[in-house]
């Protein structure tokens, strides 16, 4: 494959037009960033206020007094460290199981031909369409019968085997050419071998994005832990935050302080995990 040295493919106009275009691009980018960061900014600003200053009308973007003490108080008012630990445990475990079983099952759906495969797959996807509120009670009763209420295991079992991961990985596997698998089969590799040595390494971006999205969704999940976790020691961060909402009033400043703390790990993971699903140079494995 030869690469000709060709003139740059970008449209090169006269200098001022280029500068204008670049400026416009940056302005647009900055405007978009502001829009995207604004609510986060409100969260941070609220976390530094007194509770009765959060919902002033109109919004006060700069707190009248900066209550950095909120960030210290929150660890004392609720067992934040325990909650963070629980959230981390659940998020990591569920992510690991989702990625593992999901990609494993996805290979079966994508590369192994057997009767009823596509029908079964459709049924998988279809269940995502049912709102959880509809089957929440039957599910709870089932878990009650096997005494799994008020355990972390209940949350793990309920969320680690979702269809989302299967669907995502299957689509990704479909874009890996069959010829690759066929060549491997000819060479005598078993299906499991193909999965481990070819599909997994090639699907790093998908695995990474699945891991990230599963982690975020589990970290932010409220309803599941709310229904199943009764003991305070098992609670997650999201439950901890809501404990500031009382019957008639809520301590929003504390809620936002907790929310900011809760968002930080996710952002860090995203910032540093990006390189796993954005590869510098994509390979197809079919060179030459």
């Amino acid at each position: 494959m030869t690469t000709l040295t060709a003139p740059p493919a970008t449209t090169a106009g006269p200098a001022p037009r280029r500068v204008l275009r670049k400026t416009l691009a940056y302005v647009a980018l900055i405007a978009a960033t502001v829009l995207v960061v604004l609510p986060l900014g409100w969260m941070v600003s609220s976390s530094l206020k007194r509770n009765n200053q959060v919902f002033t009308i109109p919004i006060e973007w700069i707190p009248r007094e900066f209550r950095w003490s909120n960030y210290v108080e929150i660890w004392q008012q609720i067992p934040m460290a325990t909650y963070l630990g629980n959230s981390t445990f659940l998020a990591v475990t569920i992510t690991f199981l989702q990625v593992l079983t999901g990609s494993f099952a996805a290979y079966g759906f994508a590369k192994v031909r057997f009767p009823g495969r596509d029908g079964l797959f459709l049924a998988y996807i279809a269940t995502i369409a049912v709102p959880w509120q509809a089957y929440m009670v039957p599910q709870y009763i089932m878990m009650q019968q096997v005494d799994l209420i008020n355990t972390h295991l209940s949350i793990i079992l309920l969320q680690a085997f979702g269809a989302f991961g299967v669907f995502l990985m299957r689509q990704y596997y479909l874009s890996i050419p069959d010829e690759l698998c066929e060549a491997a089969r000819i060479d005598g590799l078993s299906e499991y071998g193909i999965y481990r040595r070819i599909m997994l390494p090639l699907s790093k971006p998908a695995l990474a994005s699945l891991a990230l999205l599963t982690f975020v969704n589990t970290w932010n999940d409220y309803m599941g832990p709310f229904i199943y976790l009764t003991s305070n020691e098992l609670w997650t961060v999201q439950l901890g935050l809501r404990s500031f909402v009382g019957q008639y009033q809520a301590d929003y400043a504390m809620i936002m302080t907790g929310a900011v703390l809760s968002v930080l790990p996710v952002m860090v993971i995203f910032l540093f995990g990006q390189r796993y699903f954005i590869q510098g140079i994509a390979t197809s494995g079919l060179k030459g």
Binding site: T56, I57, V137, Y140, D147, I149, T230, Y248, Q249, A250
Partner: protein, 434 residues
């Protein structure tokens, strides 16, 4: 990269075995962990009582009651089941559906109570109620279901008017008795000043429909389940006028910005505010922590012209016994304790208004640090009549939804008062009463 492999049959068998082994160990792990039961909210022996509560740490009345009960009954331990207030009914419904055995189920409001009692999930305590002296127990009527009782109120909140004494002085208005709604509107006009983020509103109407509808029903004798809502008109007209003239924060902004009534009052953004008595403990705490500098007072709810009594609306909170409880006698004892004198005393100390009405209790309440001591505040605390916020029936929930939806439409100006009331009439009649 690809090594030589044993023949196909052996390979498949080997991999199958591997897969089966993995699956089996997974299953064993599940079974093992599943058998390790966490202690759920089940009363251990007969000396531990489990009680559902919301926001245990932020709701001092529960701990106050539990400590008092444990002190009066040595050897008894109360184990609270802490459920987040926001979704309390959802979780309790789910728990009870799953056959939960928590002994005492706290009834957050009368609507939830009517649901649990109608499904037969609560223990019948009529005998116990009949054997008590309940003449001074406010709000008991709300728990009467066909002459049977399934819960006892321990707390009764009713609505009155909070006002900012400092702002009133500045405007030169003196409050010396019960005001009418016309007085109220006039005062609101006089008290409104400033604009932008320095604006002070004359009054603040929170977005709950009760602020307009429940007080109107209580003071006109109208029936909120009746299907004929003409009696709402006066109240809506007054509130909309205030909104239009800028004397009260408009509903659209209040909902969109999630206006917090505590913020409005504690930052001095409003001079008056109709609100429930539960807020008293809130403002006391805010003043003590230095979070607010408002010199506040209480006044009776404004009345309709020509009214000789002070009529307001309210809502009781109660304890009930779970029918599936394995500790029923102790549970009943607790419910009775909470509704009785000792329970009332315990919660008065933390600024909560008990259901038991007694001059001694009122005295104790007003001797709390920070309470306003003027005569008007004391008068506000003893309304002549407290009507239940919303009558209880199996239609309550549906009617409540319809009334709330139309309330929003009237207050944002999507419908006129006439149109809105007509909608309410039509919808309730056709969808609920048919």
């Amino acid at each position: 990269m690809i090594a030589t492999n044993p023949p196909a049959k052996v390979r498949v068998r080997r991999h199958l075995v591997k897969t089966l082994a993995v699956t089996a160990s997974l299953a064993l792990a599940v079974a093992a962990c599943g058998g390790d039961t966490q202690e759920t909210a089940e009363g251990g022996g007969s000396t531990t009582l489990t009680v559902t509560v919301w926001n245990l740490a932020k709701t001092p009345e529960f701990n106050a009651l539990f400590q008092a009960f444990e002190k009066a009954n040595p050897g008894v331990k109360i184990q609270p089941v802490d459920i987040l207030a926001d979704d309390y009914p959802e979780k309790v419904t789910t728990m009870l559906a799953g056959g939960d055995k928590t002994d005492v189920i706290t009834q957050k409001n009368v609507t939830d109570y009517s649901r649990y009692s109608s499904r037969g999930q609560l223990l019948d305590i009529t005998d116990m109620v009949k054997s008590m002296d309940t003449s001074k127990l406010a709000g008991l009527d709300a728990f009467n279901v066909n002459d049977s009782y399934y819960a006892l109120p321990y707390r009764q909140d009713f609505w009155l008017l909070y006002y900012n004494k400092g702002l009133f002085e500045k405007a030169g208005i003196k409050l010396d008795g019960v005001m009418t709604w016309d007085d109220y509107a006039k005062h609101a006009a006089a008290l409104t000043q400033g604009d932008g983020n320095k604006k002070v509103y004359g009054t603040y109407h929170h977005t709950w429909r009760s602020v307009i509808q429940a007080i109107s029903a209580a003071q006109t004798g109208g029936d909120q389940l009746g299907g004929d809502y003409g009696f709402f008109a006066d109240q809506y007209n007054m509130a909309l006028n205030l909104q239009k003239n800028g004397h009260a924060l408009d509903f659209g902004t209040a909902t969109a910005q999630q206006a917090d009534y505590r913020t409005m009052f504690e930052t001095g953004a409003t001079a008056m505010m109709p609100m429930g008595t539960w807020y008293i403990s809130g403002i006391l705490e805010a003043k003590e922590k230095g979070e607010s500098q408002v010199d506040w007072g209480l006044a009776p709810m404004p009345q309709r012209p020509g009214s000789s009594e002070v009529v307001t609306f309210g809502s009781p909170t109660a304890f009930a016994v779970n029918k599936r409880s394995e500790n029923q006698e102790l549970a009943k004892k607790f419910v009775q304790f909470a509704a009785g004198k000792e329970g009332a005393e315990a919660i008065t100390k933390v600024g909560v208004v008990p259901a038991l009405q007694d001059p001694a209790i009122t005295e104790a309440y007003f001797s709390l640090k920070g309470m306003p001591t003027d005569e008007l505040s004391k008068k506000a605390f003893e309304p002549d009549k407290v009507v239940l916020e919303m009558p209880v029936s199996d239609k309550t929930s549906d009617v409540d939804t319809i009334l709330n939806e139309e309330h929003q439409l009237i207050m944002v100006g999507d419908k006129t008062v006439q149109q809105g009331i007509k909608s309410m009439n039509d919808r309730v009649k056709s969808e609920v009463l048919n």
